[in-house]
Symmetry: C2
DNA sequence: TTCTATCTTTGTATTCATTACATTTTAATT
DNA sequence: AATTAAAATGTAATGAATACAAAGATAGAA
């Protein structure tokens, strides 16, 4: 369950120096695959790291995304969300509770980039929305 | 080019009472298919409607989206963007200039909803990102 | 037409995520 | 230990979006 060693390895693989704060954030992302917001990460880590600054969480996720260690999701109009799983998969956001879920096992063709002369595409995001079962009441 | 009559018709089709402001916003969306932000719409209309309030633009687009007359795009982390074309198509955002472009003629399968017991899906958004040709310098 | 009720618009104030930036702390090297 | 660079911190500022109360417009009934 504790994956500090894995975090260190993963950070080094992405040329990110594993400071205490970065390791804590990475541990959190690896153990909580809920596409957390900056605030959720910050609040979760605060109890064990009282001196942690929210700016550090912002900086940390910026560098994670920049180095390709983490994916930033633009699916929730309120906040940015972060996903430790950078493999090809889609997401679902519930319009009622706002939770974001992974959708795996879609055809790989969905994630291919169309060949267009006008643009150089290097990422795709597939986002479904609707109501989750919990919010629908069963 | 002036589409006020079309706007009225389109608004009524979606059960939206065509006030002066709503008609102006709808005209703008029909004539400027650039996925504008609230601010862009507001600034464009201001010269001809000096008393227009930005809150009205927010209210107006909220009702347009609620009634299915317009699609709200979550693709630009800075602002919401609005698209008068509610048919199935994808978008591309340039990471450099921030402009959002339509991508038509993709396979219709891309826009089908996966059948999942956990969620009731009622919308999909396919967003590509990268660099546009203008920003790449040719 | 006038009255009334409802809908729409307006302006201000507030919230809150994100960014900017200067300062302090930490880590690595000589 | 001294030096330097990198990282973390805290505060202030920005700006999109929302809340809300007041003013204005519209439609229907009397």
């Amino acid at each position: 369950m504790l994956t500090t060693l894995e975090s260190h390895k993963y950070l080094r693989q992405h040329s990110i120096k594993p400071s205490v704060q970065r390791t804590a954030v990475m541990d959190y992302l690896m153990n909580n695959r809920t596409h957390p917001t900056i605030d959720e990460i910050y609040l979760a880590l605060c109890p064990n790291m009282p001196t942690l600054s929210k700016t550090t969480v912002y900086n940390t996720l910026d560098i994670f995304v920049e180095r390709g260690a983490v994916r930033a999701l633009v699916i929730d109009e309120k906040n940015a969300r972060y996903d430790i799983d950078v493999s090809a998969h889609a997401h679902f956001i519930c319009r009622s509770c706002g939770k974001v879920h992974d959708i795996f096992n879609l055809k790989s063709e969905l994630f291919e980039f169309p060949k267009l002369s006008r643009f150089s595409i290097n990422a795709v995001e597939i986002s479904y929305s609707g109501i989750c079962d919990k919010c629908k009441g069963n």
